[in-house]
Assembly symmetry: C2
Homo-oligomer: 189 residues x 2
């Protein structure tokens, strides 16, 4: 009888991570994921998303609990400020993904990290959204992620660590390179 010892680095079970990589290498279909949310408009700038079960390598995976994400706009943007607004959620998605990607890939390399914090800011010119100037884009013009890390590593390793997020993060890749978004609409009965 074999016994398995989990190797945990940065909270990541590296034994399972290695097994996952081997499994997806052997059966590429296992790498196919589909994530989903269902959104419902409440009023004005308020709407809620319910995170759905996701498809992961051949199976539907429910989340442990329901996650309801509340979006709203602040008063200056005519809303009631019941939640972060969509462009703030985008910054959170980016910060979270860059952090997790770094933490997981550091674990895979056996590098222990003590702490990670980040400040993320994005510049947006409302003249795009308000249809005032066709030369101003609607979205973010620039985003900056400032990482702060505590780890027992050399300066060079610190630079290598901070590159892992941009190299591997799915949200960083999506946002920096862009992705096709198909929008369709139908009438509700």
């Amino acid at each position: 009888m074999q016994s398995k010892v989990a190797t945990i680095t940065n909270g990541v079970d590296v034994t399972r991570l290695t097994e996952t990589i081997a499994a997806v290498k052997a059966t590429p279909e296992l790498g196919k994921f589909q994530f989903r949310v269902e959104n419902r408009w409440i009023d004005c700038g308020e709407n809620h998303s319910e995170v759905q079960p996701f498809y992961a390598g051949g199976q539907e995976v429910p989340h442990k609990t329901d996650f309801t994400l509340v979006a709203d706009e602040a008063d200056i943007l005519l809303g009631t400020d019941k939640g972060a607004n969509p462009v703030e959620y985008l910054l959170h998605a980016l910060a979270a993904c860059v952090t997790t990607s770094m933490v997981y890939h550091a674990a895979g390399r056996g590098i222990a990290i003590d702490r990670v914090e980040s400040s993320v800011e994005g510049d947006l010119d409302l003249r795009g959204f308000l249809d005032i100037s066709p030369n101003v884009r609607n979205g973010y013009q620039n985003i900056r992620v400032k990482l702060r890390m505590k780890a027992d590593v050399t300066d060079e390793q610190l630079r290598e660590l901070s590159a892992l997020g941009p190299i591997f993060s799915p949200v960083y890749d999506t946002i920096t390179r862009g992705v096709r978004v198909a929008v369709s609409a139908e009438r509700m009965s």
Copy 2:
């Protein structure tokens, strides 16, 4: 003495919307916004963002309350599933922004909407993130937004309504066209 009557459509104060557009037209600096989050790693795939005050046309604007956004990964992705994961937050940001952009711009056109719901799904191949295949991107390969709407409009108006999100949404623009993300890192004391 003048009295002002607020015109509300879709919950949006169209009088204030019109005044905002006029103000930003007259003083383009008022259109300059900066949104911010502060993220902190907890363990493994869990990290939290605190949404910060934002800069809006010359002033710092605090939110009414604190918004803490919890990201985590599901067990199959080695996490503890305490919150939606980063790529799910990205879908929420998109759904929320497309919806709000449509609702506000419909209000500006005097078009009342009764209900909006949307299903958003994104395809992601983990072979990118797991560094298994250099030909597979890390991020989303495709995203689909399926809107369902209830409004007393013609079919042509329905199509026009559903185009407002893609035309004006900041998150849609950011995700489809891409944006530069600068990442820097420093050692924490």
